[in-house]
């Protein structure tokens, strides 16, 4: 018993090390979304290109990615080629052009190709606010009923897609 008591500091130290080690890999800047399992908020906003209005009803029918982007967002530029590749593979991607200048957004799409099936113009950031967006890029995974099933904060790279998002997307397609 006496001997075991001597081990207490060592055990405490090992526990602390374990927690600190885990802390190295935590990403406190990625908040869990409060909207998982909830439908996309209702909206009616103009499209980035063309004159039509887009509403939440237009996003129903098939599982899709809802990607929040902007021309002022440097990381979105890194992400854009990946989205282009995914769109070419047949992944359905909707865009939310968040707090952006519409002319610049159009120019961006002309310069870097357009991976978005529909692109929502959210100049005021109202839709972004309802989605709990706090930066860009952020990407929501929607099921065919328009329910938000997953949120990814940050740049979607090929690796992120392969390891995190593709399995979820495929699962949704099977539903």
């Amino acid at each position: 018993m006496k001997r075991l008591v001597l081990l207490v500091p060592l055990v405490a130290f090992l526990l602390l090390t374990l927690f600190l080690y885990r802390g190295l890999f935590l990403k406190p800047e990625e908040l869990p979304s409060a909207l998982i399992g909830k439908p996309i908020p209702a909206f009616s906003l103009p499209a980035v290109e063309g004159q039509s209005l887009i509403t939440d009803k237009d996003l129903l029918g098939r599982p899709a990615l809802l990607n929040v982007w902007a021309t002022w967002c440097v990381a979105c530029r890194v992400e854009h080629p990946v989205l282009n590749r995914l769109a070419a593979q047949g992944v359905l991607i909707y865009g939310v052009n968040y707090k952006d200048d519409n002319a610049m957004a159009r120019q961006w799409l002309a310069d870097f190709l357009n991976p978005y099936r529909l692109n929502i113009q959210d100049a005021e950031g109202r839709l972004g606010f309802d989605l709990g967006v706090y930066g860009a890029p952020e990407t929501f995974l929607l099921d065919k009923n328009g329910i938000i099933r997953h949120k990814f904060v940050g740049v979607i790279t090929d690796q992120v897609w392969r390891e995190q998002l593709a399995p979820l997307y495929q699962e949704l397609q099977g539903e």
Binding site: P28, E29, L31, P32, S33, A34, L35, K99, G125, F129, D130, L131, G132, Y134, G135
Partner: protein, 155 residues
């Protein structure tokens, strides 16, 4: 010199107030509610700042939104609920009691209890030690003492 100090102080003051917007409130009570809310709510983008202190665009949006909701006549609870529905419990510096926050609320209490138990255990150990030294001698110890004293006398 005094003038220089005064100017420096004035510059300092203006920096301190940089993140505060100039919203117009019709009553002082509303202004006070606004101050409490922006200080109690946390900026989602920044790691540990309330939305009153932050200059992040999202913090400005949240301040704007809180101002709008106060103008609409919503209560503090409604406003907090509105923001939590979008940004989650993260935005509250005063988290609600739920399964996820049990450890947060009661963890310190458990640590305190652990400390109390530890201290009591140590105190008891020490008492036992002193108690054994104060116990009356056993028969065997009496004999040994007597023989030791006897030997001392002979020396």
């Amino acid at each position: 010199m005094k003038r220089l100090i005064a100017i420096t102080l004035l510059l300092w003051v203006s920096v301190g107030w940089a993140a505060i917007d100039t919203y117009e409130f019709s009553t002082d009570a509303e202004r006070a509610r606004y101050r409490v809310l922006v200080e109690e709510l946390r900026c989602p983008k920044c790691q540990n700042q309330n939305i009153a202190d932050s200059n992040a665009p999202i913090a400005m949006d949240l301040r704007q939104e809180i101002y709008r909701l106060i103008q609409e006549g919503q209560t503090d609870e409604q406003i907090i609920e509105y923001l939590v529905a979008r940004y989650g419990d993260f935005v509250r510096y005063n988290p609600p009691l739920s399964f996820n926050t049990l450890l947060l609320w009661f963890g310190p209490l458990f640590l305190l209890l652990g400390g109390v138990v530890g201290v009591r255990w140590m105190v008891r150990q020490r008492q036992q030690k002193t108690d054994t030294s104060a116990l009356p001698l056993t028969d065997a110890e009496h004999q040994r003492l007597a023989s030791l004293l006897e030997r001392k006398k002979h020396d």
